[in-house]
Symmetry: D2
Subunit: 136 residues, 4 copies
């Protein structure tokens, strides 16, 4: 487990993650980012169903180095590259079981009020947890 | 773990499995069936990339009893209800972590030649493994 | 256009609807059912974001007769087989561009209160529209 | 129709493109890119099932400006920003029906031999079609 990412999880692939070229489709990596980030946010206290502040994606990016295929699992590492007042830039690494780098990406959340969708400060409790994930 | 299904696995949910109604969408259960069945088949020796015989779905069905939401995981149980010459009827149970039944369904594979797509006998090695999963 | 289904639409396929076997995956047909039914419901007045009554899927089924592949489009026909007090059984036909039957299925909605998730009568306006889709 | 993108298509949304926040999920935009690009490539002569050269994604990026929700359709524009020997950089614009910019992104294909997965020149016929899509 690489120490340059503070949070790691393993995401099993699904049958239809593979496309006609027989490997996990590029789009799926973004579904993994969403899942990884929101799993971490929920553990850190975000209430996706009723909380007043929610995170909306304003930018995402991925570089693909290699590939895996169902039924292989993806190991996913998360860290925070920049923690702003209302925005957070996450950095993500995807590794195969043998530590081969499959892909690297980033994803930017702007936190907004659930109803007005106007930018809002990252909630205090969440910010505390996020501070621990900032790298370097 | 219920003993009326011979093979069990746990499938984590993903962010976008939830729909606007806040729970895992009905379609996702079929993606779980595909994943559960093919995971078992691959472990039992099916070569999805190059094997001469592949399984095509000719029928599927699901009854929904309750629901879960991301980030909850789904427990999925598999058994075989009927093992024919070239077709197999799988039966699937989906449970929440507390054993609540979320859904129950079935799924029928017809095994076919990869190139001609004409029905073919279930390969011998696979049939042996399948026999152990037949219930009751 | 077959007259035994009262509402028809065409659903383009997407790159990743194809699986490793090179055709539209079985799961995708259920995504098409959800899309077809909810498109019709929204046109008929259902408010999926704020309405007090929503439809939840309690059963779905599909028989697969043939297949199509991206970039082919799917033609989808909808009718209502049974219109109950709080439940509706939809019947769906999927056709290729040349009228070949690709699949046939059904899908049962129970209408519930959005908050309590307890069964509720189909809203009057919606019921009127549904009556026109009942077959035969 | 903006003239700075040479190819336009309209992609209908699906029920489950919406996430719990009630709008089309960020991941879906990448599924649209894959669909848009491959639709164009197939029209230009790429054989995704049997051709000796295939395009693999090595990088993708998206900036999200606004959002749409099912059942709204997305208008998608495609152009080529850089046409190399074996790689192509596509640029994509997503617009709402009223021309509001929903998102803008790019996507880089490296063409490879289907079997060896080693870089290969863009096939001549495809290159001719691509030249017409280069901007500015």
């Amino acid at each position: 487990m690489r120490e340059d990412y503070g949070y790691w999880t393993t995401i099993p692939t699904r049958w239809n993650d593979n496309d006609v070229y027989g490997h996990v489709n590029n789009v799926v990596h973004y579904a993994f980012m969403d899942t990884l980030i929101n799993t971490w946010l929920i553990e850190a206290g975000l209430d996706i169903h009723g909380g007043t502040t929610i995170g909306l994606c304003v930018e995402s990016h991925c570089n693909y180095r290699s590939s895996i295929s169902f039924p292989d699992a993806m190991r996913a590492g998360l860290r925070i590259g920049h923690l702003g007042r209302s925005s957070v830039r996450y950095e993500i690494a995807f590794l195969a079981a043998d530590d081969t780098v499959i892909a690297e990406g980033h994803f930017v959340h702007v936190f907004v009020d659930r109803t007005t969708r106007k930018p809002a400060e990252v909630p205090t409790g969440l910010r505390g947890a996020m501070a621990g994930l900032v790298y370097p």
